[in-house]
């Protein structure tokens, strides 16, 4: 069987330590999978899915309340469920999944054992306990403070304690990740530099470390404050909270980009154009980590214009540059991988002939496109000091981050799941036809949702708001009638995405618990039930393949991608300067 994934040699005989850990060799990829890596990946993935279910149900409830024609919940339950949705999705779902990614990258991808497995399992227990405690506080109404819990809004001390426990657990996992890489290198389970995917995961882990320290700086004082032991300045809290809040999104970005490279390799055999560029771009994420955090404070009273301009950009927006580089190298790697394998027709033959029926590939493509075109462009624009005046706390903000963290990160997570089910859980993907539709439903639903949410925000419709008809307010306020239409379309998009999310949960849960086992099955003989990238894995490249490469002038060796990124830049510039024009039309303010 030809395959791009390297088959590691049998464990070297001079390393008896390898005999001490129980492992299995994955028959389709040749990965050596440690028993504990196996268990930890599964456990974290299962809890992540439970969190996704809780977060998803809460999403539907919120959606059906903000859709003013339905207006389902009471105010108390709306704000409570909104708190649950934010914490459960952005913190618990994402981080449990990322813990699984870290174990996957350090374990199987490096053919390594997980160090300190008992500590790893304790960390998992601590995270589950912390998450459960926080959930309990939220559901019992002891923490109606929304996800950001801006003090002086006060939650029960146990709420902060639960988050601290969860974060400590996650911090331990980050330590185990680096410990595992170190041991893998010492035990020579891989040679040379880390593979790019693992390098990206390591970037996410470093950012996670930074983020979790900020988390400690935010929540430990908040815990003490909630007990009445110390004073806590609300502006300082906001600064520290966002050092946590947006840095955690940088973990997601780094993990997502690592998965982009991984999914590209698994589905179409994408290649790395240049290791230097891709790796440097990952390093930029670490070095410019604080930029996005400052974006949340652009219209705050506690910081001056110089602080805002510098900290939102460090003069040169290198984190944006990093994403723009990955936005080039990921599709270029896909393009070149296909061209090298003979799909070399025209500018976009590689797009046309891509495996759009492979849910791993369609998730990858939608994740890259929506993250870049919607999430990225809106994010940088909203994060501009003055433009933020137009957007702060309006629906444009959640419109932006649902395009990044849901359509981007969660979409990539879903895509890799279709490979993890056969590779790690050793099960067929249940309801495979549905699974093929799932990325489209979820991706396009979320695309509609985030675009129309952004539109609504443009009318000044606030986020985190129970009643935008202001029916019981002291004065009347009637938004433009267009807003009703826009929020209705937004709700419909959200419901389509919810169907996609529901299918994802159904497929994964059914596959894992009731799915057909793949033990002893050669997946390359299957016709359906596992993604195409495993049935017909991309052919292994040989040096002679490079003969297919043509330089097309300044369009280079990946001309299709060059055209796509130029379209992207044009859209970016158009959106960016339209916002400046809008800003120039409002009251003079300064």
């Amino acid at each position: 069987m030809s395959h791009t994934i390297p088959r590691p040699a049998a464990p070297p005989a001079e390393a008896p330590v390898l005999e001490r850990w129980k492992s299995r060799i994955c028959p389709s990829t040749g990965f050596r999978i440690d028993r504990h890596a196996d268990g930890l990946i599964k456990a974290n993935a299962v809890v992540a899915t439970v969190m996704l279910l809780i977060g998803g149900i809460s999403a539907i409830l919120i959606l059906l309340t903000r859709w003013q024609a339905v207006h389902l919940l009471s105010p108390v339950w709306f704000y409570r469920i909104l708190t649950v949705h934010g914490m459960t999705m952005l913190i618990f779902f994402i981080l449990f999944f990322e813990m699984a990614v870290l174990y996957f990258a350090a374990g199987p991808l490096l053919n390594s054992r997980i160090v300190a497995p008992k500590t790893a399992w304790s960390a998992f227990g601590l995270m589950v306990l912390g998450a459960a405690l926080t959930e309990l506080m939220m559901w019992t109404g002891k923490a109606d403070v929304l996800m950001t819990s801006y003090i002086p809004l006060r939650a029960d001390p146990m709420y902060y304690l639960g988050i601290i426990m969860f974060a400590v657990g996650a911090l331990i996992v980050v330590g185990i990740f680096f410990g595992t890489i170190t041991v893998a290198r010492r035990e020579k389970t891989f040679t040379g530099s880390l593979p790019l995917v693992v390098y990206g995961a390591a970037t996410a882990a470093i950012i996670a470390f930074i983020t979790l320290l900020h988390g400690a700086a935010t929540y430990i004082p908040a815990y003490l404050w909630s007990l009445g032991l110390i004073r806590y300045d609300p502006q300082v809290y906001r600064m520290l909270w966002w050092a946590l809040g947006h840095s955690s999104q940088q973990i997601n970005v780094a993990a997502m980009v690592a998965l982009w490279y991984l999914l590209g390799a698994l589905t179409v055999g994408s290649v790395v154009l240049n290791e230097k560029i891709s790796r440097s771009a990952f390093v930029l994420y670490i070095l410019f980590i604080s930029l996005a955090s400052a974006h949340h404070l652009l219209v705050d009273p506690g910081f001056g214009p110089a602080w805002k301009v510098v900290n939102t950009s460090y003069f040169m927006y290198m984190a944006v540059l990093a994403s723009m580089l990955h936005g080039f190298t990921v599709p270029a790697g896909i393009e070149l991988g296909q061209r090298l394998r003979g799909i070399n027709q025209g500018l976009f033959g590689w797009v046309k002939r891509a495996p759009w029926g492979d849910p791993g590939f369609s998730s990858l493509a939608l994740s890259v496109i929506v993250f870049g075109f919607v999430g990225g462009i809106t994010g940088v624009t909203l994060g501009t000091e003055q433009i933020n005046i137009l957007a702060h706390n309006t629906l444009r903000i959640p419109g932006h981050f649902h395009a990044t963290v849901v359509s981007g990160t969660a979409m990539a997570f879903m895509g890799i799941t279709y490979y993890v089910i056969p590779l790690i859980f050793r099960k067929k993907v249940a309801f495979y036809r549905l699974a093929q539709w799932q990325p489209y439903l979820f991706g396009i639903g979320m695309l509609i949702f985030s675009i129309f949410m952004t539109f609504a925000g443009g009318f000044g419709v606030p986020r985190r708001h129970y009643d935008t008809t202001f029916s019981n307010a002291p004065f009347d306020l009637q938004f433009s009638p267009a807003v009703d239409m826009v929020t209705a379309v937004m709700a419909i998009g959200g419901l389509i995405a919810a169907v996609g999310g529901g299918i994802y949960i159904l497929v994964t849960v059914w596959s894992v618990f009731f799915g057909e086992s793949l033990e002893g099955v050669d997946v390359t003989t299957l016709r359906t039930g596992v993604p195409q990238g495993l049935i017909r894995p991309p052919r292994k490249l040989v040096p002679a393949d490079t003969a297919a490469i043509q330089e097309r002038g300044w369009l280079g060796i990946t001309p299709g991608t060059m055209v796509l990124v130029l379209i992207f830049l044009a859209a970016f510039a158009l959106y960016y300067f339209t916002n400046w024009k809008q800003l120039a039309a409002v009251w003079k303010i300064g």
């Binding site: 809004l153 080039f328 307010a473 009251w587 300064g590």
Partner: protein, 200 residues
């Protein structure tokens, strides 16, 4: 041969030294992207210099109780009427104006004049609030303990609303304030009469 030796996937550890010159198209895109990032940066200082909308303000720390007292004094001095029990305050054109956010109201109702620059002090008596002027759509974060004094020049006359767009407790969605802007002659223009039947 065309100079390309090998390509590998992101799952494979690169062989040997991977610090190699980038391909031409990558260099071109890097250059374009870098230049664009410079534009993104340059626009901010440029707008401080040439643009009319900046979130700078005059910022100072203030005790919430002291700020509340200041708002009360301001209200008592310049009160010209009432709207549903809420004082309407018409300060002299160009003066310092005060707006207090608290659970769950914005007080007082402000009456400003078109085309005149005011210094609008906003703060909170309790938790974070969000100042969102409708339908102009300008938004600022209001943090207790901080006086955010923004120099604003209403460019149009009309009847405006102040939405709270930062969650501030279970009555958050009831928190709505009012700003009236009279035209250059000091007349109220009700392009949209917000409350028919209520004397203005």
């Amino acid at each position: 041969m065309n100079g390309y030796e090998e390509f590998h996937s992101g799952l494979e550890a690169p062989k040997g030294v991977w610090w190699k010159p980038a391909h031409k198209s990558e260099k071109i895109w890097f250059g374009i992207a870098f230049a664009w990032c410079m534009v993104l940066f340059a626009m901010m200082p440029l707008w401080h210099w040439k643009g009319g909308q900046n979130p700078s303000g005059i910022r100072s720390k203030v005790d919430p109780a002291a700020f509340t007292a200041r708002v009360n004094e301001f209200t008592a001095t310049y009160k010209v009427g009432e709207d549903r029990g809420m004082p309407i305050v018409e300060p002299p054109p160009g003066s310092d104006v005060y707006l207090l956010g608290r659970m769950w109201s914005w007080t007082p109702v402000l009456k400003l004049k078109q085309g005149v620059e005011y210094t609008l002090h906003i703060s909170s008596a309790d938790v974070n609030h969000g100042f969102s002027l409708y339908p102009v759509n300008v938004n600022f974060q209001i943090v207790p303990g901080y006086d955010y004094a923004l120099r604003v020049t209403p460019s149009e006359a009309g009847d405006f609303r102040v939405i709270c767009n930062e969650f501030c407790g279970v009555g958050h969605h009831l928190m709505l304030g009012r700003v009236i802007v009279t035209d250059r002659e000091g007349r109220e223009v009700n392009r949209r009469d917000p409350m028919p039947g209520v004397p203005q």
